[in-house]
Amino acid sequence: MKSKRICLTAPYLVWSVGFIVLPLVIVLVYGLTNDNGNLTLANLAAIADPIHLSALGQSLLIAFGSTAISLIVCYPLAYILSRSHQSSRLVIMLFVLPMWINFMLRILALQMVLANTGIINTVLGFFGIPAQHLLYNRRAILIGMTYDYLPFMLLPLYNAMCRIDRDLIDAAADLGAGRFVIFRKIVLPLSMPGVISGIIMVFIPSISEFAIADILGGSKILLIGNVIEQEFSLTNNWHLGSGLSVVLMIFIFISMAIMNRRGESEVQAL
């Protein structure tokens, strides 16, 4: 019985050790050593460098931005979809469909849409409006990230709202609660788990993003992901790259812990 259980867990074990634990250990070892193999904290402390701090700041700014936009767009949509049963599946499908196409391809397509001679500017030109510089700035990065990660916000929100018992809402209405009170007292707290996981799913990939910043930002905006990528590919300083990655991971763990604790207390408060 026991050996059978080991057999069944073996593939997962191999996977998690080989592709999760081992790489993390390698990153840690590189991050905590220097070229001579001596232990050092300098690679972690390097985050205090003004260039790295400003890159982290840019990443945070854009990650907050894309998370906030996704939440504002998806929350009402998820609520409407969870209330209407006929068309909701189709709309969800429409949101999920682009995820079948490679992320990078969609970003490259977006580049063509936003370019100076791109689709939007061609249409504007048709109406006699001069070409707009839509690409290669912070806004373009924000559009790209939001576009890529929006479904990750919508799906958890939709699932959480579908699970809200209609009877609770009906009972509240019977007892004289207005629509605003129902929303504030029932829908909002009960959808919190979806909000939390949506935020985590969008915020974490956003904060470490670098390829979208290169393509849609024209390599003009340095995010912390770009710094780490360059330490590996351009400068060949794997120690510094790993050190900064560790700092970023710590950052992500802390924000996840805060989010999870808030999520738990919201649920317990009911």
């Binding site: 260039i51 370019a115 100076n116 290669y136 390599s219 003009k220 710094v227 400068t235």
Partner: protein, 369 residues
Amino acid sequence: MMKRKNRLRCSGILLAAALTAGICGCGAKTGENGESGASVQGAASGDKTLVVFNYGDYIDKETIRMFEEETGIQVEYEQYVTPEDMYTKYQAGAIPYDLICTSDYMIEKMISAGQVKKLDKSAMQYYDNLDPTYLKFCEAFDPGNEYAVPYFWGTVGICYNTELVDEKVDSWSILWDKKYTDEIIMENSMRDAFLVPLKLDGLSLNTTKPGDLNRALDQLKEQKSIVMAYMVDESRDAMIAGDAALGVIYSGDATAAIDANDRLAYVVPKEGSNIWFDCWFLPDSCQHEENALKFIDFMNREDIAAMNFDYVYYGTPNKAVYDKLDEETKADQTVFPSEEALSHCEVYSYLGAEMEEYYNRLWKELKAY
């Protein structure tokens, strides 16, 4: 110009090299060079063979056929994409290359590693066809021209869209003109970006003075607000599409861009720029030195060099070919920059690990600005 020092990565490269070399070795035998394919095995014992390694699509294949016909030497012709690819395949040692053509910085690296054989110039009867001007440039990475024979050369310059730029473009200073805000593409690589302000200030692009480099950084920072994007290979497509008015690009890319969009033009600014060379050399794996020298010499022969020039259309260091070109070709700046610009052009030299780190720092500072 990149230094690779990482142990993990090295073992990865060796593995990849072993794999690719194996695949390529097999591919060549069954591939297009069918008639000369068997020569890989014959290379060790036979004497009428030659294994040549060159960039992809960088020769008129007809010249190889002519060489085989005239000398009776069977050529095994292999191709690669980047100098780094070439180096890993060479190091894997699966194929004993007799003759390689690659870029200046890689040759410099291989010469310093003792992986290049000295040339017996007395065995080459057409060596004198080479223009001394270009041989002198090559001394930057091959002092005394002892190891390498230039094959083609090119420059870094400004590609511009004549529909969007009315004025005459002849100076790097146009890249600071606010009129072209969000219409300028800069090179997204350190040395190619820094050469622009360095040359504009009349300095050497190989300067190691922190003061010079910091001033260049300040100029690039000032320029950043009007730069549309920093790009590498994508800049060619962006120029063709008409997304930008001005772009700093390589002359080879400019030739391709102008082919696709005839409103584009290319100029090497009068302050000078980077000039790069692709050269033939004998690696230490060479087993057929005599045949390799014959091949280099054949490439330098006027008619053969002219055929390859027509095919590749990069700058030729062959004076005999150049002298017979028509005036229109001689005036084409994608191939031959003005004499004034050329006199200020320089080959990149390796600046050492310490300078490389300094450059990396400045580069990050520019990107974070």
